[in-house]
């Protein structure tokens, strides 16, 4: 394992300290590094709190700031944060309008956020994000994973909270955006959890993992590496099958790097995805390209589409000022 670290036990703490220093104009670190919060909390606004295992940076702490989250709780690498982190964050940023928790659909996250919601005695609600179409859902399973689409939910709900929407309306909006959003990813090489010291899985020189998760969990199947057009066709095809957009439907296209993939290739994937969309009569009206919901040093990418109406598009375009996402200000 080759990584820019000192000691594996200090990775998270030292990274959080650097993050808080680098973005001290926007965020501050809670006591004992339990959470990252906005430096300037707006009174009377519903507080948006997310969190999850670390290793997906800039998700979630990178999205704390005006127009997005009020606080984020970082767990250990790929491990959900603990309930006391969410409670401490909620107590720090709640200002009378309640708290909306935005949670990715994993057993651990669900249980820890549920415990936090039970412990926190002020008004709160939860939105669960499960945009990954690589996983077949059924009544009996944990269901689909929450992946890169979480960014889009946090952006749109964050904008609505900023304009003064109430807790119940924000929960409904979050669920609407989640339903309109679908993602799927592919890995070319695995990631290495610092404390584990070796790659989470092994892929041959000519193999890729189709439908991979953002923790390097295996996906749908392992297949021979093909060209970018074929990969984009499979990912985008699965997403379009799920969203079933009508001709002329407007979408946001997020091509998200997993941490180890050059921007050069991500833009190439944007080009490839556009061809698939054109064939389906779907129109990309906004783009976001970069490594936003990562899996440590994994190479590969995910494609996310959100089918938008003018109202959702306005929320996407609304000003945002966070460490990782800034426009309109």
């Amino acid at each position: 394992m080759k990584k820019l670290i000192n000691h594996v036990d200090d990775v998270l703490a030292e990274s959080l300290d650097g993050f808080a220093a680098a973005h001290g104009d926007i965020v501050s670190l809670g006591s004992e590094r339990l959470f990252v919060q906005r430096r300037a909390v707006r009174r009377g606004k519903v507080a948006l709190i997310s969190g999850g295992g670390s290793g997906h940076e800039p998700l979630h702490a990178g999205f704390v700031g005006h127009g997005m989250l009020d606080a984020a709780c970082p767990g250990h690498v790929f491990t959900s944060p603990t309930p006391n982190q969410m409670v401490a964050a909620a107590e720090s940023v709640e200002t009378g309008a309640g708290v909306l928790f935005i949670v990715k659909n994993y057993s651990g996250d669900l249980m820890n956020f549920q415990m936090a919601a039970d412990l926190f005695d002020r008004d709160n609600a939860t939105v669960i994000v499960n945009d990954d179409v690589a996983v077949e859902n059924s009544t009996y399973t944990t269901g689909r994973r929450g992946v890169a689409g979480t960014l889009i939910v946090e952006k749109m709900v964050g904008a609505a909270a900023e304009r003064g929407d109430k807790l119940a309306a924000l929960k409904t909006l979050g669920e609407t955006v989640n339903r309109a959003t679908a993602s799927m990813g592919v890995a070319l090489t695995a990631c290495t959890v610092p404390a584990a010291g070796r790659p989470t899985f092994q892929l041959g020189e000519d193999e890729m993992e189709m439908g991979v998760g953002i923790h390097g969990e295996p996906g749908r199947r392992r297949v021979k590496l093909t060209g970018a057009d074929d990969i984009a066709a499979e990912l985008t095809g699965a997403i379009l099958k799920e969203l079933a957009p009508g001709r002329g439907q407007e979408v946001i296209l997020l091509v998200n790097g997993f941490g180890g993939t050059p921007v050069l290739e991500l833009y190439l994937m944007v080009h490839a995805a556009r061809k698939v969309l054109a064939d389906s009569g779907v129109k990309a009206v906004r783009y976001l390209t970069g490594s936003y919901v990562t899996s440590l040093d994994m190479t590969g990418c995910s494609i996310t589409l959100t089918a938008v109406d003018p109202g959702m598009l306005a929320l996407w375009d609304a000003p945002v000022h966070t460490p990782a996402l800034r426009w309109g200000i």
Binding site: S80, N84, Y106, S107, G108, Y140, T141, T142, G213, H215
Partner: protein, 203 residues
């Protein structure tokens, strides 16, 4: 008997098996299980002296709260809730029937928490066979029963390899999780085994 020896054994086995648990979780999960269990185990060990002075159920509760506030992931709420529920239900010096009853309550609590049931490749598939053995130990008691419980837990964990994963991250794999032992079940079996061995030594 002081319970610090028991607690030390039950936690140290997780520290000693961290590599194995990591490998199991890397096969069907995301590879964090071994490290999470180790973190919880060390958090409990750091409170050993304080735990030793408490009655059994208070010690269990305190250990459960330590799990919930330090582990995270699925293991924090699951092992934490198990310990906290056992704490509520166990008398000061529990016998096999008391343990069976408390395990029954704990299984119900974990089912509520994780929406998982017996037979879905989770640690419930270790707890339930152990509960049934303790409920109907037959002629077995003392050292013999402890050895049987130990064996039962290890076998039950091994048997999870042949189950379909329906809950947790392994569920995303469908059939690809077949043939792999569930890491949480392996941890549960290690803990039960260590407790049994520790009790046999002190009998």
């Amino acid at each position: 008997m002081s319970h610090s020896a028991l607690i030390r054994a039950a936690t140290q086995t997780l520290v000693d098996h961290v590599e194995e648990l990591t490998a199991l979780d890397q096969a069907i999960g995301d590879g964090d299980h071994g490290l999470n269990m180790k973190r919880g185990a060390l958090a409990i060990q750091s409170r050993l002296q304080e735990l030793d002075n408490k009655p059994l159920n208070e010690a269990l509760k305190s250990m459960g709260m330590a799990c919930i506030s330090t582990i995270g992931g699925s293991s924090g709420p699951v092992f934490g809730t198990l310990l906290v529920t056992l704490a509520k239900d166990l008398p000061p010096a529990p016998g096999p029937a008391d343990l069976a009853r408390a395990l029954g309550t704990s299984i119900a609590a974990l089912t509520r928490l994780g929406k998982a049931e017996v037979g879905q490749k989770t640690l419930l598939d270790v707890l339930d066979p152990v509960r049934r053995l303790l409920e109907n130990p037959g002629e077995s008691s003392g050292e013999d029963l402890l050895a049987r419980v130990h064996r039962c837990a290890l076998d039950a964990a091994q048997a999870t390899a042949q189950m379909d994963a329906i809950k947790g991250r392994a569920s995303f794999l469908g059939e690809r999780a077949l043939g792999h032992v569930d890491p949480g079940s392996r941890s549960m079996a290690l803990i039960i085994g260590a407790v049994c061995d520790s009790l046999r030594v002190t009998q």
